[in-house]
Symmetry: C2
Subunit: 350 residues, 2 copies
């Protein structure tokens, strides 16, 4: 496996991780970014892309998606490679003081500094709580897109009532590839963020191409060979029905999990990484934590506080990456060097 050498690795492409890239860029520190989600923006895009945020200074109102787009434009001059859809699994210290990191996507990095901007953790699919389901995971139960063989000609059950579940079920109905498609949800009321989905589901149900089972799945039933064959479902009227199936697709939303970083040996308290409030350094030299993932006296989990943290962390990192260099406090309004880095023209007459 080839190893990517980098001055900085930023874990998390939410707003604070993106601004971390910007502040590192001003310090002339090159960064790579890894995020578990398929696109940058973190919570802002995964959880509330269209909800207005009112407390970003200078932006009286902007959505999570808009904030992300603005930050992506701001960091564009620094061309930081983004490695999306993968989680950083291991962090180990090398003899030379640098850090070795590996990801679920098979990447390896050697980084002088590491910035954990992981927010409330990696967003992973929320697990279904059904007795006896675990052994079937990745064989007949898929939290991520299922292989063709699990769909074509199969009886497929989609579990959930939010947009992701409705979209998955409608896509399968549309493709006509399954033997049957059943939506399993605790009520027959859906409250999709995208209101158009309600009508589409109603139409698919009316046409008979989509089935609906209302109830709570309690137990998985397997045959003698260990194959999942049915779910026991408790209905709102408290009776139990048997729902036969070949494939289960739980689509219960995303849930944040701290994940592997909890095992990296960094000092923590209450699931937060303990940091020094003047540098936002963790207990490991060269490893910083910024944004919602960290904890220090007075900490407030606000995006604008993360911006400040990322800034001081970048200054501290400069002392590691460029130990010879005198710490420079330059202003983007006046510094020709910063203008050069940002790719903007310095007015002749300053």
């Amino acid at each position: 496996m080839s190893v990517i050498d980098t001055q900085a690795l930023v874990i998390g492409a939410g707003p604070v991780g993106l601004f971390q890239v910007f502040q590192l860029g001003l310090q002339e520190i090159g960064a790579h970014v890894v995020d578990v989600l398929p696109e940058p923006g973190g919570q802002c895009v995964a959880l509330y892309p269209d909800k207005p945020i009112y407390d970003i200074p200078g932006l009286p109102v902007c959505t999570g998606r808009e904030l992300t787009e603005r930050l992506l434009a701001q960091i564009a001059p620094f061309r930081a490679p983004m490695h999306l859809g993968q989680q950083v699994h291991t962090l180990t210290r090398l003899d030379d003081g640098r850090w070795h990191l590996t990801t679920s996507g098979g990447l390896a990095f050697r980084a002088s500094t590491v910035f954990i901007a992981a927010g409330v953790g990696a967003f992973v699919p929320r697990k279904a709580t059904i007795d006896g389901l675990a052994p079937h995971e990745d064989r007949q139960v898929f939290y991520h897109p299922a292989p063709d063989a699990a769909l074509d000609g199969r009886h497929v059950v989609v579990l959930g009532g939010e947009d992701a579940a409705l979209l998955t079920a409608l896509d399968l109905v549309q493709s006509s590839r399954c033997n049957s498609v059943t939506l399993l949800h605790r009520t027959d009321k859906f409250k999709p963020e995208n209101p158009a989905l309600d009508a589409e589901v109603a139409q698919a149900l009316a046409s008979g191409r989509l089935q609906l089972v209302v109830g709570q799945p309690m137990e998985a039933e397997a045959d003698d060979e260990g194959h999942l064959v049915a779910l026991q479902v408790t209905t709102p009227g408290d009776t139990t029905v048997r729902l036969p199936l070949d494939t289960l697709l739980p689509r219960l939303g995303l849930s944040p999990r701290l994940g592997p970083l909890a095992d990296w040996g960094l000092a923590m308290e209450r699931k937060q990484l303990t940091v020094a409030p003047d540098t936002f350094a963790t207990s490991a030299p060269g490893v910083f934590a910024v944004g919602d993932v960290n904890s220090y006296p007075g900490k407030r989990k606000l995006i604008l506080c993360g911006f400040h943290e990322a800034t001081l962390a970048a200054f501290a990192a400069a002392g590691i990456v460029y130990p010879e260099r005198r710490s420079l406090m330059q202003y983007t309004t006046t510094s020709p060097r910063l203008h050069e880095l940002l790719g903007v023209t310095t007015p002749a007459n300053t």
Copy 2:
């Protein structure tokens, strides 16, 4: 003198002082604002209104004036009264723990909490360094707009070569009220921010309505009655010329001065107010310092850091103003109460 009662007094209407009003508003703390400058924006508007700033998170590029306008729009829901063009002179503690403040504009406040967002200090006109000039200040030498009697039919000398000096001289020429108008500057080259001024000055000089004396004023000459009658000016060729005058208008730009707040008994180091990094409280209970005026480990004088400081200070102030209230961490994306305070509609389906 009537006294204005307020939950919070913010000293300084620069970007950090303005955002302080916003964060106080989210905590339901009403604020008044005092600033020495005639308009809000602080340094951003007084020193570099049109220069681009690149490091405000989410604003890839914006001028000082634009940032100010955006912040004014953001704090508009909180309707904080602004008292501009005056300096806070005194800060004294009342028996009930509140603070009594007086301003150069004759206002008095009684405030539960005080936020010093004074930046690098109050911007005051830079003084001319001319021997023997001081006794004539406010009689024949005016750093602020001069009274009519000092201009009408007088020989007026404007000292300086920047925009403010050129504009003052051109205004006087235009008005035809003076006996003569002379621009006194160390060189015959001007570098105005507004390049159109160059041509206007050249034209006024060519028409003979404006005189130019090139040199450095060294000494003020007074008559037996103590009136200022002339300046001794050293020319670039190192000869001395005598420049007779009735009125001198130094227009040498603004220079920041910490001013009266240095005498308020607050703990300081190197002209900065020492603050706790978790609350940004000064050594005086209920008095906070945010932005460039404060000092704490790791401090960087950046606007975005001031935004963070103002936020934590507002949370700390809420504990003083509302001692009974449990500290609430609400988000502007989701809190109906914050939406109410901001005057925005909460989506029915959250």
